[in-house]
């Protein structure tokens, strides 16, 4: 019997792989992402590969100098957003003889969000895992005395869960790997209150984080990582002894982290900080406990940042 037509021999049509938005690197000059160096269309707002804001690139070109990245890392709910927001707000108000100028209105978002929520006696919303939802701060900073020198800093506010997922399975969130690789300094936030209560969870997360950085930078066995790393004990208002001797507190209560730092990191310093002066608790509608920051009493916010800057 006659066939209506010859059977189709061509393979089933397949869609191109849909990992991220289409790379336009083959199209020639566009906007090269500062974080992953992917070429993007000139009118793109976010990098198609890593979701970093391309406005950073445009702003850095205007300054004619490469910005330096300082990464703030820590577990979920440790206080990264609050710390970064309060820090930037203090710098904007010339605390500690610093002069800080935000580059782009987007750089003010995190401090506005944090200060506004704290003024309203609530904590800022949880940072989503999606990188396009992260806050990015690009500031020009200098200390006015003794040697004024401008430094451009980029400080992303990464989600703790994204950090945990990347540490557990490297390359899950490539933007994190790229950011940490490019970082000139790292501030590791650790929940001092939980550690003081005997929980090992902060210690394990910090150990994993430092181990990840160690592996990623691939230092040889007899060499140590030289990237300045500030270990910042957060929520130290719960355990004031942190302020007296942060180093001793870490050695006693976060011993795994302590040993890792002593063994593999050349340039580590320990600090304690607190943002909330007093905390109240309320019962919500669904029988959950809502912490309420009653007032702000920042302590130890600038010191780790000052130290990092002095090491750059």
């Amino acid at each position: 019997m006659e066939r209506l037509t010859t059977p189709p021999d061509e393979p089933t049509l397949r869609y191109p792989e849909l990992n991220t938005y289409t790379s336009f690197s083959h199209l020639g000059p566009g906007t090269r992402c500062l974080i992953c160096e992917t070429n993007n269309p000139s009118d793109a707002a976010l990098c198609g590969e890593c979701s970093a804001p391309l406005s950073i690139v445009h702003d850095s070109l205007a300054q004619e100098r490469e910005p330096q990245i300082v990464s703030i890392v820590g577990e979920s709910n440790v206080g990264k957003t609050v710390y970064l927001g309060v820090l930037l707000d203090m710098l904007s108000q010339r605390a500690g003889n610093f002069e800080a100028i935000p580059k782009g209105a987007y750089s003010v978002d995190v401090q506005q969000t944090v200060i506004s929520h704290l003024a309203n006696r609530s904590f800022p919303p949880k940072t989503p895992m999606e990188a396009n939802e992260w806050y990015w701060a690009y500031y020009q900073i200098r200390r006015r005395r003794p040697d004024p020198m401008w430094i451009d800093l980029v400080m992303p506010d990464m989600a703790g869960e994204s950090l945990a997922a990347e540490v557990a399975s490297p390359a899950t969130f490539k933007i994190i790997r790229n950011l940490l690789t490019l970082s000139r300094g790292t501030i590791l936030l650790v929940d001092a209150a939980m550690a003081a209560n005997g929980s090992a969870q902060p210690d394990f997360f910090a150990l994993k984080m430092m181990s990840y950085i160690d592996t990623m930078l691939q230092a040889k066995r007899d060499e140590r990582i030289t990237i300045p790393t500030a270990v910042l004990l957060c929520k130290s208002d719960y355990c004031p002894e942190c302020f007296d001797d942060p180093r001793q507190f870490v050695e006693a209560n976060l011993n795994r982290l302590w040993n890792m730092c002593e063994s593999r990191f050349e340039n580590v310093e320990y600090f304690a900080c607190s943002v909330v002066g007093s905390l109240g608790f309320a019962a919500g509608d669904e029988e959950h406990i809502v912490p309420i920051p009653l007032h702000m009493a920042p302590q130890g916010i600038l010191e780790p940042f000052e130290w990092i800057l002095s090491q750059l």
Binding site: M1, E2, R3, L4, T5, T6, P7, P8, E10, T12, L13, R14, Y15, P16, L18, N19, T20, Y21, T22, N40, P41, S42, D43, A44, A45, L46, G48, S51, E75, S76, N77, S122, F123, P124, P125, K126, T127, P128, M129, E130, N132, E133, A159, G160, E161, A164, A165, S169, A171, T172, F173, Q201, F205, G284, D285, E286, H288, I289, V290, P291
Partner: protein
């Protein structure tokens, strides 16, 4: 609001329905076994925050990484209504397919505003997904039947594989249009969505009342051969970390534009008429429009679900021609009917579907003409597809 069955991501490992112990149904022709993963923000012994809190034994590390990257976290649903449902479906690098259903849970554990988003992901191999007609909404309904409505309260210590029943709105059953879609006005919109999906381009449709229903019908309007490679989402905010061929949003507060600016992703407001388009699949899309406007949804879904060997425009045009001739022959006068009979007498199709359609055309002509002594057995008039 989508009129989909209530689904909670929860359902502890030991029970799939309230008050009844879990009973592992025998895996047979009417069931499909799937791996499952729960992604949520639950405080636990090993950690806290959004992460994979439980997974069945057969989930691979590579799949977990991809699920971590794609699953929605805090404030990622379009709608703040606690009853909202989000859905995403995507192929995994391992060759399996993930269908993820997201619902709101209780308040997020750190009480920093907003509800927790719980996501249950079913992982199916290619054959199992095909048994659901590569329709993620069918998988979603089967998962809802399997796990029940109980919310998750804590991370289960172990998670069994899902046993999914195929009986949930089987393709071939009579299909009715959900109230949110209109046969009279949505024909052009369905054809437009089909043109985008067939072209492999990316489209965001926003301001849609029932995103899940629209997504399902967009999928059913294209041949099944073109469905497996699609990445789809409904009810979830757009994010570069979960790119989709088709994303349907109920609301858009403006963040979508920033996420896609400059990246050649089309945006279509569901309240507006669809923009004009050109497509090499014009014949197929014309058929979709015609049948949609005529209310022939059952015929459309049956036909599209049989097109598993038709991928390119030429193949589809051939099938469309046969289908139109089958419709025509039923109402044709004797001379036209004879002409159609002569056109197809002694021929077979390139595929089983085409051969079947030819057989029906010949059967109808013979039945109408009362022709005797032919080599094709007489058949009773059958539905168009």
């Amino acid at each position: 609001m989508d009129s989909q069955p209530a689904l909670s991501v929860g359902g502890a490992a030991a029970s799939s329905r309230a008050g009844r112990p879990h009973q592992q149904a025998p895996c047979g022709d009417q069931t499909v076994t799937a791996e499952q993963v729960i992604f949520a923000s639950l405080p636990g012994i090993m950690g806290r925050g959004y992460r994979i809190v439980a997974a069945s034994a057969g989930v691979r590390a590579q799949e977990k990484a991809e699920i971590n990257r794609r699953s929605p976290s805090h404030a990622s649903m379009c709608d703040e209504d606690p009853q909202s449902v989000g859905l995403s479906a995507y192929p995994l690098a391992t060759g399996r397919y993930a269908v993820a259903c997201s619902t709101y849970g209780p308040v997020e554990y750190s009480a920093r505003g907003g509800r927790r988003i719980d996501t249950r992901i079913a992982l199916l191999d290619a054959g199992s997904y095909r048994r659901f007609d590569c329709n993620p909404l069918r998988v979603y309904r089967a998962v809802a039947d399997a796990v029940g409505p109980e919310p998750i309260t804590k991370a289960p210590t172990s998670l069994p594989r899902l046993v999914l029943a195929l009986r949930s709105s089987r393709t071939g059953d009579a299909v009715t249009l959900p109230p949110c879609l209109d046969a009279a006005t949505d024909d052009a919109r369905m054809a437009y969505l089909g043109s985008i999906l067939l072209a492999g381009e990316r489209l965001i449709v926003r301001h849609v009342d029932a995103p899940l229903s629209l997504l399902e019908w967009a999928v059913l309007s294209i041949p099944i051969s073109r469905r497996p490679g699609l990445t789809l989402s409904a009810g979830l905010k757009v994010s570069p970390s979960r790119p989709s061929h088709l994303a349907v949003l109920s609301r858009d507060a403006g963040e979508t534009e920033r996420a896609i600016a400059g990246h050649h992703v089309r945006v279509y407001d569901g309240n507006d008429p669809p923009p004009p388009y050109t497509s090499p699949y014009g014949d197929w899309l014309d058929l979709v429009r015609t049948w949609w406007a005529a209310g022939r949804f059952t015929d459309l879904t049956r036909l599209s679900s049989r097109l598993d060997a038709h991928a390119d425009p030429h193949d589809l045009s051939r099938v469309v021609c046969l289908v139109r001739d089958l419709d025509r022959v039923r109402q044709a006068d004797p001379s036209e009917r004879a002409a159609i009979f002569d056109r197809y007498r002694g021929r077979v199709g390139a595929t089983d579907l085409e051969t079947d359609l030819i057989g029906r055309i010949l059967a109808v002509t013979q039945s109408a003409a009362g022709t005797k002594g032919t080599s094709v057995r007489e058949k009773a008039p059958a539905p168009a597809s």
